[in-house]
């Protein structure tokens, strides 16, 4: 289906709004699928598309060694992808197929992909403190934060989700004293298996991090000394030099809503990534995709989803083939340890595989003896067979065989054992 002659005679035009992981993956996939029309990539940030995972890790701790660009600079020109970085899409008309940019440029398109991602959810109680309060979503955010953390600084991390914990780990490595303040009763409530959270808490405590759970903040003040005090409803007070908060995201769906697309906690798309308008597509954090393998719409805020769905939807826009189903999967890196999580985060039983006492492990989540989820700690090579076992709904008959770290999981996954 390469370069179909367009009814109106011009080469087809794909416009991609976003400039993040999903957008970069999509434009790459369009060219790989043979699309030879015009591709225009519009990104609000004045940077080449970059990876966000390093922002809470290497960009803070080892900035000289941090590599964030998804593709080298020459890639876009080489692939004939026109870039508009530092310019935002402000309006589009789905039926007229025209997109307006903040700079005043108007782009006519045949197909439009929205990969607008999300922004950090604002916390007005903390924002009113003015300086000394940070969030972490963009490269500029990470660079602004980096200069404020040094040995002995008291860092109050508000929000015990994955980004909060990653920032806590990085701040500890940079020598800071860290307190993590979470409103809920448990950490990473939105998405990690309970035994993995326990491992993470033990790791953080061992490094000196203090946790305050169930702390509902009601007041934030700053003394003349610039010291910040956060007060919880139950009277607990936390004193620090700076605050970093990560309390979830706000999806960038304004464009989609004003164009009349169906939006329900994300832009609703089918298995091709098509929105409620057949020429408008969406992918990445912002998209809630129909997933036949699960019989429901699913939305994820992970690197792998942005990469795979961006690729799948970019290809679908060219070939008309549906996106392939992938077992949901993500990683988090803390204190140099790599944690990977796949599939369901809730299970009846967690089957541990690894030397007792060692951090390195693979743990399976079982429901009625069937593998529904898994996580690894510094054992990523076992994630591949573990994901395959989740995908096929592998039934565990011999627990000792699986629990023995010497058993080759590849053989279990493909039925040789």
């Amino acid at each position: 289906m390469n370069a179909l002659p367009h009814p109106s005679g011009h080469a087809p035009v794909h416009v991609v709004v976003g400039g993040g992981q999903a957008a970069a993956a999509a434009v790459t996939a369009m060219r790989e699928a043979g699309f030879s029309g015009r591709i225009v990539l519009v990104g609000a940030e004045a940077h080449l598309p970059y990876e966000r995972p390093p922002l809470s890790k290497e960009v803070l701790v080892t900035p000289q060694a941090a590599q964030v660009s998804i593709h080298p600079e020459g890639f876009y020109a080489e692939k004939g992808i026109e870039c508009r970085f530092g310019d935002a899409a402000v309006h589009f008309d789905a039926d007229e197929r025209r997109l307006e940019l903040a700079s005043g440029e108007t782009l006519a398109f045949d197909k439009l992909l929205l990969a607008t991602g999300a922004r950090a959810r604002a916390y007005p109680l903390l924002d009113q403190l003015g300086s000394g309060v940070f969030t972490l979503r963009t490269l500029d955010d990470a660079e602004a934060l980096r200069g404020h953390i040094w040995p002995g600084r008291r860092v109050l991390v508000v929000g015990g989700g994955v980004i909060g914990l990653e920032v806590a780990a990085s701040a500890v490595i940079m020598g800071a004293d860290v307190t993590v303040i979470e409103r809920g009763a448990r950490l990473m409530a939105r998405g990690a298996p309970a035994p993995m959270v326990e491992t993470l808490i033990a790791l953080h405590r061992d490094k000196g991090v203090t946790f305050a759970l169930g702390a509902d903040l009601v007041e934030a003040t700053r003394a003349n000394t610039r010291e910040i005090t956060l007060s919880a409803a139950d009277g607990r007070q936390f004193v620090g030099d700076l605050v970093v908060y990560g309390i979830g995201v706000e999806l960038n769906v304004d464009l989609a809503i004003s164009a009349g697309l169906r939006v329900e906690d994300g832009i609703v798309v089918d298995e091709y990534g098509r929105t409620s308008h057949p020429d408008i597509y969406a992918a990445g954090d912002v998209a809630r995709q129909w997933t036949p393998a699960r019989g429901t719409h699913l939305r994820f805020e992970t690197w792998a989803n942005a990469q795979n769905q961006g690729t799948g939807v970019g290809r679908a826009m060219v070939t008309g083939e549906p996106c392939a189903f992938e077992v949901p999967w993500y990683w988090t890196d803390q204190y140099g340890h790599n944690f990977q999580v796949a599939g369901a985060q809730e299970a009846d039983e967690w089957l541990h595989r690894g030397e007792p006492g060692a951090l390195k492990a693979t743990v399976f989540g079982l429901k009625d003896d069937v593998v529904v989820g898994a996580f690894t700690v510094d054992n990523g090579r076992e994630m591949r067979p573990a994901r395959a076992m989740i995908a096929t709904g592998h039934r565990i008959t011999d627990r000792t065989l699986i629990a023995n770290p010497k058993t080759d999981l590849r053989k279990v996954a493909d039925g040789r054992l």
Partner: protein, 106 residues
């Protein structure tokens, strides 16, 4: 070229990998009896490719963020890596495996 001993043939069965602590470290792979050697440190971050997942299609997947590299050419095939890994020649002599390191490191 400096010839560095890796291990005996028996110590590197098919489907397995070994790390050699040269400078830089090298990962040696046995894919169904064929031997390949790549720089051990993933070009995307702090991961040992010897700990990676060996695929039948002559690639290895990084254990940390799953970038795939070609065993023959070292080419970075998938995100998040974009920089290729260095490759090294492997020699089998009798029952032993060696890698060839260019003088002065790679």
């Amino acid at each position: 070229m400096e010839k560095v001993h890796v291990c005996s043939l028996a110590d590197l069965p098919p489907g397995e990998a070994r790390r050699v602590d040269t400078s830089p470290a090298i990962a040696v792979f046995n894919l169904d009896g064929a031997f390949y050697a790549l720089a051990d440190l993933c070009t995307h971050g702090n991961a040992s490719m010897a700990e990676g997942y060996l695929e039948d299609d002559c690639t290895v997947e990084c254990p940390v963020h799953t970038a795939r590299f070609c065993l023959k050419t070292g080419k970075a095939l998938t995100q998040p890596a974009t920089i290729d890994l260095a490759t090294f020649a492997v020699e089998v002599e009798g029952n032993d495996i060696y890698v060839l390191m260019p003088q002065g490191g790679a």
